[in-house]
Structures are given as structure tokens and as C-alpha cells.
């Protein structure tokens, strides 16, 4: 329908020949009536009559001169008494514009869905007369006008069968406006707007609630920023006064003094604002500039084609679920296309793989698996947690070994703390709880160890190991004044001093849980000091949960005098308050958590040197103070936090009420889905590809806002995940026109993503049943295997930095491209894994095999080529997911490789099976159908000692070289580029 209308308009334009008639009235001109047409091609008697007022010749109207255009619609009887919407579009230089309700002509895509009326719900009588516009056209050119109307709720348009043509010729510029713009561009735009205001008054900036939102430097920024100021003045009583008042530090301007009163900048700005105000008063003439407001002209996202939906399913299953899609999920998509994809995604977002996705996603943003940071604040020796102290004492008194205490108890506890935050987020997401609970949950996630130490209220059964986390509350926390040290007992065991007994005097203190904000590891990751005063915690809270990058706002030279200011600059110096006015109240909200990340209410967390300065200076501290007097009080933006004990709980509630929380949440998960972080706003207009970067950033922000709106409504982040996967940002596969597409140039859209080390590890384990590890680890404690311990992780985890991942400590950025080092690690693992994977799989009955369900070792190219090819096909589809011609090519190639290996292996003094690195140990699930005692150490049923393979002839026998050849096939697939890129 859309294209019909556009084509109709265009065709008519091409064929039409405007017929002019001349009216007798002075300063006006009427065109001949124009018959109407309807989009449903039915007949109509309606006609349109255009009249120009204040001009006599439509072919030579001077630019910037006033005229108006009116339409008289003589209606067909069928439309009388209907309520309709009126539309006006104009074609200028092959670009369509449409008149909106504000009386402005804005760019129109030509899509029916993008039609907007300039007058809505108009009651039709026999003849309708309406003024379309009155104003000045500044851009010379040939304008072709069409008008239409459509009854409310009816998609049928009645429109002019031909346009009227108005020619605007060059005229005198609108001096006043041009002069103002020139003055603004030269004296205000750069020195004030760009250098001062735009630090905060910009999309994504700190002044997110201000009506004054400017844009950074580009070819149209001066015009647009001036327009922003004009609109503010026009829509605010005493708008000029308000702007000047705030800029000079009044009106509780969060940015402080930017233009001191009577400074040169202030006076210059004031003069310009006065000029704008005066002109606004005297001139109410509308000016139509027909200037584009965006840098790029085309919607380049539309040029990107999506991949087939089955391919999307496969990739989504790998990324979200760490597995292949199930048969049922494939069927959903096969039957119902994209709707089926939605249901399949619901299925994928369950079980272990999705759980791992969430844990990894949280870790990749918060970097909490940092043992050093956790150890520094670990609670095992802290008397505030008698439960942990008792566990500590029980262990060392039994073992009499400090070394074992550190290695077997503390090391076992570290993952429990490291993963508590991730487990909290997983619990919320997997149970479809409101996503805001990540900051407001009045509980935390504990495993059996931390539950015992914290005195938690969760219950665990004997067969639940350390990897099981449950919601629980800290019920065993005591403040220093609730413990009687004189009645405690300290002992020394193996040169280690520990408490054998702690005497508590009161009931434990209520611990004010507030989701991630009160998580000990989150606090440890962003530590505080006497002078930092929680500012680092506040900075990262803003970044992760409020989409405010405070450090990003400092990417500008800071005044040297301000940097050396010693008069409490965070409170008094404008160069500093611009950020600290926002930052410090949130920092203050952390006031009840000290440097060891422990809860210390009522001023107990205040630094002792603030209370009693060592340099002899006078303290500001007064008895009963709970916060520093030379810092701002707790709060968030304009909201004060008055509850002195539960400040973080209050902060959490305030944060989740902010729209920015939902935007921040979308950005938090963006890298987990798309494999790269969301774009940052480009800062310097002189940078290479600035315009392209800006365009890509703006479009991406629009999509992020759309997702944020969805999350705000549904509160379920899974809905966001689905939309992300279904979007062109995930599904984009090819670009139809190889033009300078900003999205393709600036993001990884339409390309694949390198799987991170954890994703690869899970992929290898899923497909082969094995996890590659360099050396065995003892990981049993009290009879329960510590499945959860990081030491049990394989080579892909241990080498995660080399493989492009991070280590949550010194290396935090992920690399997306393959280096020679990565390649060598991949090749090592691919070779190591392929041999035992083959050996074990063929040792199992065919029906229970993971890999070779279609062939036996007796199947050779001579007697079973079909079965072998079918097996290769299935393995190829599972390992690298090729399809169509690509798949056939891969199968043929692999079959050749297989044949060659079978034929030539006899010439080698050692086959692939012989050369298995049988001294390399692997972890893996117990083989079904094979007696594990033949292969395993008795203390870990999942540990497989490969050196025992040789003792079992049925496993190692490979007389016909079939197993060796299958090992080569697996090696091929495991080292294929499409195995590591998804």
C-alpha cells in the first residue's frame, strides 16, 4: 500500500502538468481544482482547490517572503460527517517531507506507517477549508504539494490526483535569523556550548533531566543547538533568566558556576539570549528551512539482510544456552518461522547452559572473580561472623595444618563469594522475578558453606554440593559492641592465631541486604579508602546501573588551578562539582560499609583519621556524625536519602525507579549477546570516521532505548534477550549495497563473534564429552566433589587471557580477533581431544554414543562409504553448522581426508591413535557402558586416566586405521574457523 501511494504520487508528478488559473483577488492565487483519487481505486467526486495568499505568482515566490497555502476540499457525499485526519506532503529535490501536528515539515520515508496528519479528527461538512501552512520558505527549489485525508480508523486515503507546483527562487536572507546564527556559531557554540554545557547537557550525560539537551559538534550542531535554546525560551516563562541563572550557579545548578556573573562569557551569552527573546516576541512567522537534521541520509540498517532463522536459532542456542538447539526447538522454527523462534528462545533460556551464560555475563561486566580482592576482606577471621570463625577453628583444630586451612577451606570458600552476585542475578532471571530485584533483593545467594558461616536461613541436603546456591539472609552478623572480647578465646595452631570461641552479648544485627549493592565481593571489587570515601563504588554504580559514565565526562582538560585546589574542591570548585555533585551523594549512600567491605552503621565506617587527624589539624567530626561533614549527604540526583542505616536499600529503590536503570541494564547485557560492547559516543569531531561513528551510535541508542522501554514495562530481562536475538544487530548477515554503511563500518553487525573461552569449553564438552586439562587436581573435600572449584576448570579456562578473555584483574578487555598464540592453543586442544574422544566413543554401544551413532569401526570407505559420509555430514552440522553448498563441499573434502588417512596411515610408524598424548589428563563425564574402574582413579569418578587406555586392547586397537582417521576428522572440525566463530 505504501509503495503504491508513493509511486502514485511520483507518477502523477512526472505526468502532471500543473494547470494554473488566475484569481481576481489581489495577493492571492488559486490553482485549478484537482480531482481526487482513492487508494482503494474506487470512484470519488471529491476535489481539492489550492489557494496561495500573499503571493500572486506561484512560479517565482522569493525565498524568505511570507505566503500561506490553503486547501478547499469539496467532498464526495460519502465522506460528509466523517471525522478525518488531514495530510500534507511535499516533494523537494527527490526528498519527501510531511507536515506534522506541530506545523513543521519533517522528512518522510514514504512509508504509509510513517504518515502523520497535520490536522487530526477534523469533522467533514460539504466543503472543508483549511490553511495548510503560513510562513517563509528559505530553501529555493521546486516544491510539489499533495494533500490527502483519511477517515479515522480507515486505511483508505483520498488524495490529490496531481500536485500543485510552487517554485521558490532565491531571495534575500532572513537577516535577523542569519545574523543570530552567525553570532551564535562564532561566539557561543564553541566556547560555551561545546566547551562547557555539552559535558553534561548531552544524550547520556549527567544532566539527563534537563530540557536543554545539546548535540556535540557536527556540521549542523550550531543550528540545532541554537534551535534548542530558542525552543526553551519560547516554551518557558522567563526562559532567558532561567538559563542565565543556572549557568551562573543559581537555581541549584548541579553543574555549579559555569559562567560567572559579569564575566565576558556570561555577558556575551546574555546578549545573545536577549536578542533571541526580542525576536521571538516580534516575529511569530514560521520559517520552513527543509534542512536535514541528521548527518546521514539513508536508513542504513535497512540495507542489512538477516540470516536464515534456523541459523539464528543455532547461534542463539550456543550463546544463550551454551549448546546446540534441541530437535524440538528446531521444529518450532521450522514450522512457525520467527514466531517459532520466540518459543524456541523461551526453551533455550532454561537449565545449566543458560545459567552459565548469566554467570559469565555478570562476571564479564563486574569482574568479581578476583581472589585477591575477596581474600583481603574475607570474613573467616572476622569476629563479626562467629559462624565463619567456628568453621575456621573446626577445620584447623582437626587438621592442625595452616597450609591445609588455606588450600582446602579458604580456597573452597572463595568461589562461594566470587559467584554470589552472579548467582543472585541468575536466580532473579531464571525465576522471572522483576529484574530490578538485582538491586533491591533483601537476601543474597549462598551455598552450603557461606550459609553456615553467615548463619543463613537456607537449608541444604547432604547431596547438594558447593555449586548449589539458594536465597538466604545473613542472620549471624554481630557488631563490635555485640561481642564481649574478654570472654572470647584465642588459640595458636600451627603458628596461626584463631578464635576458638566468640562470646556474643546480644541478638545479631539485622543485615540490610540490597542485592548487588551490599554484596561483599562487589564492594571488594571497588574498594574504598579514607580519602576515596566510596567514590569508586559510586562511579561504578552509576556506570553499571544508571548508564552514566562519569569518567567519560572527564575526557577533557581539567583546569590546573582546580586540580591543585585544596579548598574542598569537590564541594566548591565548579570544575570539580560538575561531576562530584552527582557522584558524592551516591558515594555517601555507601557510608555504612567500611574499607573491609563490612557493614558498620551509625558512623562506625568513618575513617579514624577524619575523626582524629594525625597532622594535628582540627577535625570537623562531631559526636554522633555518621558521615563526613565536608561531603554531600546521601542521595540520588534530586532525591535525598534520609534513612541513616539502610542507605543502600534506599539507594537501590531509587535507582530502579530511574528510566536510566533500564537503559543501563540493556547495555549491561549487550556484550553477552552481541560479543562487543555498545558503542561509546564519539567525542572529537576531528576523529577519523566521526560522522559514521556518530550515526551508528545514535541509531544503536534508539534501539537500546526501545529495549529499555520493553524492560521497563515487562520487568523481565528475558524479553529483552529475545528482542536482541531477533534484531538485525544479531541476525544481520549481509549488506545488500556495499555502500559506506556506518553500522557495518563501526560495529560487528553482519559478522560473527569469537566465542569466549568459557563458551568454547562448554562447546567442546557438549560435543565430545571431554574437557581438556593440563594436570589433575584434587578436588574432594569431606567426600563431596567440589564441582564448583575454579581449579577444576580446564585448559581453555586456565589459558583464558591468551584466548582473548579476561582474568578479572589485570586484563579486563576481551579481544575479538585470533592471534597466533590463540591458534596454537586451539590446535593443541583440538589434537589432544580428538584421539580420546574417538577411542571412548567407539568403546560405547552404538545407540549410546555421542559422536559416532551411524558407523562402526568396521565401516571403511570400501564397504560403507554412504554411512561414513552420512556420519561426516552429521558431525559437520553439529560442530560447525554449515548448510547448503558449503555443507556439501565440507563433506566431500572431509571424506577425501578420511580416505587419505585410511589409505596412508599404514605407512606411518605411529598412527594418530598411537600418538595420542596419553600422558595428558582429562576431565569428563563417566562413560556409559564402560566400567569406570578400568580407567579412573578411585577418588574421582569423573577423572579419567588416559594412560590406562593402553591396558584395554579393545580400546586401542586400530588395525584398519579407522579410528585414527576419525580422529583426523574430529581434529579438522575442532580446529575449523567456524568452530570458534559463531
Amino acid at each position: 500500500m505504501t509503495k503504491i501511494i508513493l509511486k502514485a504520487f511520483t507518477l502523477i508528478l512526472v505526468l502532471s502538468c500543473a494547470v494554473f488559473s488566475h484569481q481576481a483577488l489581489p495577493n492571492s492565487y488559486s490553482f485549478d481544482p484537482i480531482r481526487a483519487q482513492k487508494t482503494d481505486n474506487t470512484e470519488t467526486e471529491t476535489s481539492f482547490l489550492y489557494t496561495i495568499h500573499d503571493q500572486e505568482n506561484p512560479t517565482s515566490i522569493q525565498a524568505n517572503t511570507l505566503f500561506s497555502l490553503a486547501i478547499e476540499i469539496s467532498l464526495d457525499t460519502e465522506n460528509v460527517d466523517q471525522n478525518v485526519d488531514l495530510y500534507s506532503v511535499v516533494l523537494l529535490n527527490n526528498v519527501w517531507w510531511i507536515l506534522n501536528l506541530d506545523g513543521d515539515y519533517v522528512e518522510w520515508s514514504g512509508e504509509l506507517s510513517a504518515l502523520v496528519p497535520f490536522n487530526s479528527t477534523v469533522a467533514l461538512s460539504g466543503t472543508l477549508t483549511k490553511q495548510i501552512f503560513s510562513g517563509r520558505f528559505s530553501l529555493p527549489g521546486d516544491y510539489s504539494f499533495f494533500t490527502a485525508y483519511a477517515p479515522k480508523g480507515d486505511g483508505v486515503l483520498t488524495y490529490t490526483s496531481q500536485p500543485i507546483n510552487i517554485s521558490i527562487v532565491a531571495g534575500e536572507p532572513i537577516d535577523a535569523d542569519a545574523e543570530t546564527l552567525s553570532l551564535f556559531s562564532k561566539t557561543i557554540e564553541t566556547t560555551i556550548i561545546q566547551e562547557k554545557c555539552v559535558a553534561c547537557h548531552v544524550s547520556g550525560g549527567l544532566a539527563r533531566n534537563s530540557a536543554l539537551q545539546f548535540i556535540r559538534t557536527n556540521e549542523l550542531s550550531a543550528e540545532n543547538n541554537l534551535e534548542t535554546i530558542k525552543n526553551f525560551i519560547a516554551s518557558n516563562t522567563n526562559g532567558t533568566g532561567k538559563i542565565l541563572n543556572k549557568a551562573s550557579g543559581g537555581g541549584a545548578h548541579t553543574g555549579g558556576v559555569q559562567l560567572p556573573i559579569d564575566s565576558e562569557d556570561y555577558n556575551r551569552f546574555s546578549n545573545l539570549l536577549d536578542e533571541i527573546t526580542e525576536k521571538a516576541k516580534t516575529s511569530e512567522i514560521k520559517n520552513f528551512s527543509f534542512q536535514k537534521t541528521t548527518v546521514a541520509q539513508t536508513n542504513s540498517l535497512n540495507q542489512i539482510n538477516n540470516e536464515p532463522v534456523q541459523q539464528t536459532l543455532r547461534r542463539a542456542a550456543r550463546i544463550l544456552g551454551n549448546r546446540l538447539p534441541s530437535s524440538e526447538e528446531k521444529m518450532l522454527v521450522q514450522k512457525n518461522g520467527e514466531q517459532g523462534l520466540d518459543n524456541a528462545l523461551t526453551s533455550i533460556m532454561k537449565n545449566r547452559g543458560f545459567h552459565k551464560f548469566i554467570l559469565a555475563g555478570v562476571e564479564d561486566r563486574l569482574f568479581l572473580n578476583n581472589n585477591q580482592a575477596i581474600s583481603d576482606s574475607a570474613a573467616t577471621g572476622d569476629v563479626n561472623y562467629p559462624g565463619f570463625v567456628k568453621m575456621n577453628y573446626d577445620f584447623i583444630s582437626e587438621t592442625q595444618s595452616y597450609d591445609r586451612l588455606a588450600r582446602e577451606f579458604w580456597d573452597r570458600l572463595l568461589p562461594a563469594w566470587a559467584y554470589a552476585s552472579g548467582e543472585l542475578v541468575a536466580h532473579i532471571i531464571e525465576n522471572d522475578l522483576p529484574y530490578s530485584e538485582i538491586l533491591t533483593a533483601d537476601y543474597m545467594m549462598m551455598n552450603r558453606l557461606t550459609n553456615q558461616g553467615y548463619g543463613g536461613n537456607a537449608t541444604f541436603s547432604d547431596d547438594e554440593d558447593d555449586s548449589v546456591f539458594k536465597p538466604s539472609k545473613i542472620l549471624g552478623y554481630y557488631l563490635p559492641n555485640q561481642i564481649d572480647d574478654s570472654k572470647g578465646e584465642q588459640v595458636m595452631i600451627d603458628n596461626y592465631s584463631t578464635w576458638a570461641h566468640i562470646e556474643t552479648t546480644e541478638q545479631p544485627t539485622t543485615f540490610p541486604h540490597s542485592g548487588l549493592l551490599t554484596d561483599m565481593t562487589f564492594l571488594a571489587r571497588y574498594p574504598t579508602t579514607a580519602t576515596n570515601r566510596n567514590r569508586a563504588r559510586a562511579r561504578w554504580t552509576f556506570f553499571h546501573f544508571l548508564d552514566v559514565d562519569i569518567e567519560g565526562a572527564t575526557q577533557r582538560p581539567t583546569d590546573e588551578a582546580a586540580l591543585q585546589d585544596t579548598d574542598n574542591p569537590t564541594m566548591n570548585n565548579p570544575s570539580c562539582t560538575v561531576c562530584h555533585a552527582i557522584l558524592d551523594p551516591v558515594a555517601a549512600a555507601f557510608k555504612n560499609w567500611d574499607e573491609r567491605n563490612q557493614y558498620r552503621p551509625n558512623g562506625l565506617a568513618l575513617d579514624k583519621f577524619y575523626k582524629s587527624p594525625q597532622d594535628g589539624s582540627t577535625t570537623l567530626y562531631r559526636e554522633g556524625d555518621t558521615w563526613y561533614r565536608d561531603m554531600r549527604e546521601p542521595g540520588l540526583f534530586e532525591h535525598a536519602i534520609t534513612n541513616t542505616d539502610q542507605t543502600l536499600q534506599e539507594l537501590g529503590k531509587l535507582i530502579v525507579q530511574e528510566p536510566a536503570f533500564y537503559r543501563a541494564s540493556v547495555k549491561f547485557w549487550w556484550p553477552a549477546i552481541f560479543g562487543e560492547p555498545p558503542l561509546e559516543i564519539p567525542i572529537h569531531d576531528g576523529d577519523f570516521n566521526f560522522a559514521s561513528k556518530l550515526k551508528a551510535y545514535e541509531e544503536q541508542q534508539k534501539f537500546i532505548q526501545t529495549l529499555a522501554d520493553v524492560l521497563y514495562q515487562s520487568k523481565n530481562i528475558k524479553d529483552v534477550f529475545k528482542l536482541m536475538v531477533r534484531s538485525v544487530w544479531f541476525r544481520g548477515d549481509s549488506v545488500s549495497t556495499p555502500s559506506e554503511n556506518p553500522f557495518v563500518n563501526e560495529t560487528n553487525i553482519a559478522s560473527r563473534q569469537l566465542l569466549n573461552p568459557q563458551q568454547l569449553e562448554m562447546k567442546v564438552e557438549e560435543l565430545t564429552g571431554l574437557v581438556h586439562a593440563r594436570q589433575r587436581r584434587r578436588d574432594i573435600y569431606n567426600g563431596l566433589p567440589t564441582q564448583f572449584s575454579d581449579s577444576r576448570r580446564g585448559t581453555l579456562y586456565q589459558e583464558r587471557v591468551a584466548l582473548g578473555g579476561h582474568n578479572s584483574d589485570t586484563v579486563l578487555n576481551r579481544r575479538e580477533l585470533v592471534s597466533p598464540l590463540m591458534q596454537n592453543v586451539f590446535l593443541t586442544i583440538a589434537q589432544d581431544i580428538s584421539c580420546p574422544a574417538v577411542v571412548y566413543d567407539f568403546a560405547v554401544t552404538k545407540s549410546k554414543r555421542r559422536l559416532f551413532n551411524l558407523v562402526e569401526v568396521s565401516d571403511t570407505p570400501e564397504n560403507s562409504s554412504r554411512a561414513i559420509k552420512d556420519q561426516i555430514r552429521e558431525l559437520t552440522e553439529r560442530f560447525i553448522g554449515s548448510s547448503g553448498q558449503d555443507l556439501e563441499t565440507e563433506i566431500n573434502t572431509l571424506y577425501e581426508v578420511f580416505q587419505f588417512s585410511v589409505r596412508e596411515s599404514s605407512k606411518y610408524w605411529q598412527t594418530a591413535i598411537d600418538r595420542c598424548r596419553l600422558d595428558t589428563d582429562f576431565y569428563g563425564p563417566t562413560l556409559i557402558g564402560v566400567d569406570p574402574n578400568e580407567f579412573t582413579q578411585d577418588w574421582n569418578e569423573n577423572y579419567i586416566d588416559l594412560s590406562k587406555i593402553r591396558t584395554v586392547p579393545k580400546l586401542i586397537n586400530d588395525d584398519n586405521h579407522i579410528k585414527s582417521s576419525w580422529a583426523i576428522v574430529l581434529f579438522y572440525l575442532l580446529s575449523h574457523p567456524d568452530f570458534i566463530y559463531e
Binding site: P682, D687, A802, V818, F900, P977
Partner: protein, 412 residues
Amino acid sequence: MNRINRRSFMRLLAGGATAPLVSRIYPAVEPDNRNLLLVFQATGAWDIASFCDPKENYEASQKITKWSDRSSIQMAGNIPYAPFSNNAEFFEKHYKNMLVINGVEMQTNAHGIGVIHSFSGRLARGYPSLTALYSASHGIDLPLAHISTGGFSDSGGILTPVVTNGRSLLRYANQNIQRFDKTLFNGVLFLHGETALSRVNDRQNIPANVKQYGSYLDSIQNSAELEKLIQIQNAYPSIEFGGDNDSILVALMAYKAGLSLSADFSYGGFDTHDNNDEEQAPALANLTSGINYAVDTAAKLGIADKVTIIVGSDFSRTPWYNSSDDGKDHWSIGSYLIIEENAQFGNAVIGATTADQVQLKVNPNNFSLDDQGLQLLPQHVHQEIRRHLGIAGNKFDALFPLNVRDEINFLT
């Protein structure tokens, strides 16, 4: 998709080729061409008053240093230093080959921005590190062109750093990763290279795709090159692994093997808001120990005169102790050290600060202190280093301009 045709593949396999799939000969970088650039990053903001811009207390001021209660500023040649930590050994060892640049205004006291400004030359994200810029300029095709072991190593999109602690590099450089017969092994890699190449060719209008599969193709072709590290290791059996400086050793060996041109090293522990002296001392000792090791080991490898070392930090620390009387907070004036054997610019100091660590301006022509002179910024330092390293004027220099109006050629 472009595939190797069946006939040639069979011929390849039948011929039992044992040579690497694609022979890529890299020009020998050492000893004829460019230096190895090593950048040591003191992360967290070092206390230069206790290092290369030493300050003694004077009556009118607050206490700037505690070491000066007992000692006074020492000189190593023309270079003053603080008698603190292991500074004496360090400056005495290197002063002849060292240029100290003091009084550089970092224009920020935010760590993240300070690091970026210090090591890229620009006060905003998006620019590559000096090491990445250097490697891209002179060795972009090298298998390990730029090695990073932590710290700021952004590439600005011009190449991919290899991030490693060094041990991984050696562990997987060994030729013996190959388990299967060479013919089959090489044949498989050849096919994968063909696949990657076809992806690059088929989807050339998508830059990310070209980068991804291009990097895969390069890695296939370069993976065997890493074996040269083992050759170097075997050629110098007296140089042992297993210590804290393995990453430095690997970087030197990689250069010696013609595989790399630059490396970054990050040393933490400098953000001493509490216990400044107690924490700065071991942090500085660790840093200077690493630099000493780099110089000594370069000598053992016969490349001592082929190494350029740059040392810097986010900014520095206040010329006073905070209320705890033990810690120091952020101070925006910083310093750099540049070390090169037999350098013409050695045994000298450029720039200075007052007794209160306030920046003094410098005459760009004769480097004297001059009230009308230049305010030294990291851009000036980077501009001159770029010129010295042969980056100035090339396409990467143009892509990431420093927009410096006044140059100061302190390395001539």
C-alpha cells in the same frame, strides 16, 4: 566459496608435503632495523617526589616527603633522584642512558583518563597506545607485533595485541604441539586457511568479517613462526624462566626472533591513599627491578643497543600527606623516563616543578625554564617520541594526530 580444488588437494596430500602451508618470510627486524619498544606503566599514580622529581621539605610547606627528614636529594650524573626504595641502584645504573622529563601536566586526576593520556598522548578514549602505534607503523605483519601483559594497550583498531603473561606463549610455541602426521596436519591447516580466505573474499564489504577471518588466516600462517621462540630459548640456556619477569623475557626473545616490536608491562600498587611510603617503596622497587632485568637481559641476548624503554604513570601524588598523615592523593603533574643505550639525550632532565610540585614552563628551543615557555603536556612528549621512533608523518600518525602546536625536540 572458493575451495581448493580436489586435484590439487590430493596432490598436496599425496606429495606428503611437510613444509608449512604458506611460506611467509618476515624481514629480519633485528639487528638491522627498528628498536624494540618497551613501555613500563606504573599503574595507580606514582609518587615522583620519592623517585625522579625528588622534593625535600622546607619550612613554609607541608611535609612533602618523609625520606627527606633523614636524607637529601642525590645525584646520578646530572639526574637528581630521591634516596628511597631501590632508587640509588636504579639511577646509578642507567643515568647515562636516561632522560627524565619532569613537570608534565596530565590535565586530570582520574585514573582511567590519566592512563589514556599518559600512554596514548590524547586526553580521550579512542587513540592507540604508543606501543600499538609503533608496531603498526613498522611491523604490522609480525606474528606478535605488539605484546601486552596488562595495562593500557588499546590498539585503536589498527592491530590486535597478543595478551599473555609470557608463559603461555612459550608453552604453546613448541613445535611439538603437532600430534598427527605432518602431511595431514598441514593439509588440514591449509584447508582452514582456504576457508578463511574465501570468507574474506566473499564478504569484503563487511569490515568486521574481513578482520575476523583475516586474523584467523594470519594466525594459521604465523602459528609455526612461534617456534622461533624455542630456538632462541635453546640458544641461550643460561637465561632461565620461572620468575616474575617471564613476560619481559618473552618480549625480548620475541624481538630477537624477529616476531615482535613492542610490549607493555603494568606494575600496580601505586595508588597509595593510605600508607604512601610503605606501599610506594615496594612498588617502585618492583618497577625498577623489572626495568633493570629488561636492560640486563637485553644485553645477554645481544640486543642492548636495540631497546627503547619508556616509563610513565597516570599522574602522580600530592606534595603533602593527607589527614591520615600516611597517604597521598592525586596530583596532576607527572613525569616520564626514557632509556636507550648510548643515547645522545642521556644523563639529562627536561622540565621541572617548584618545591611544591607545581609545573614550570620550558623553553622549547633550549629546554631552559622559562615563564613564557611551553606548558609541557603528554602530547608534547608523545609527539617527540613519535618522531624519534619514526612514526611521525606516516599514515598512522595522520590517523591519530596529536595536534601539537609547539614541538620540543628533546630527543635529538
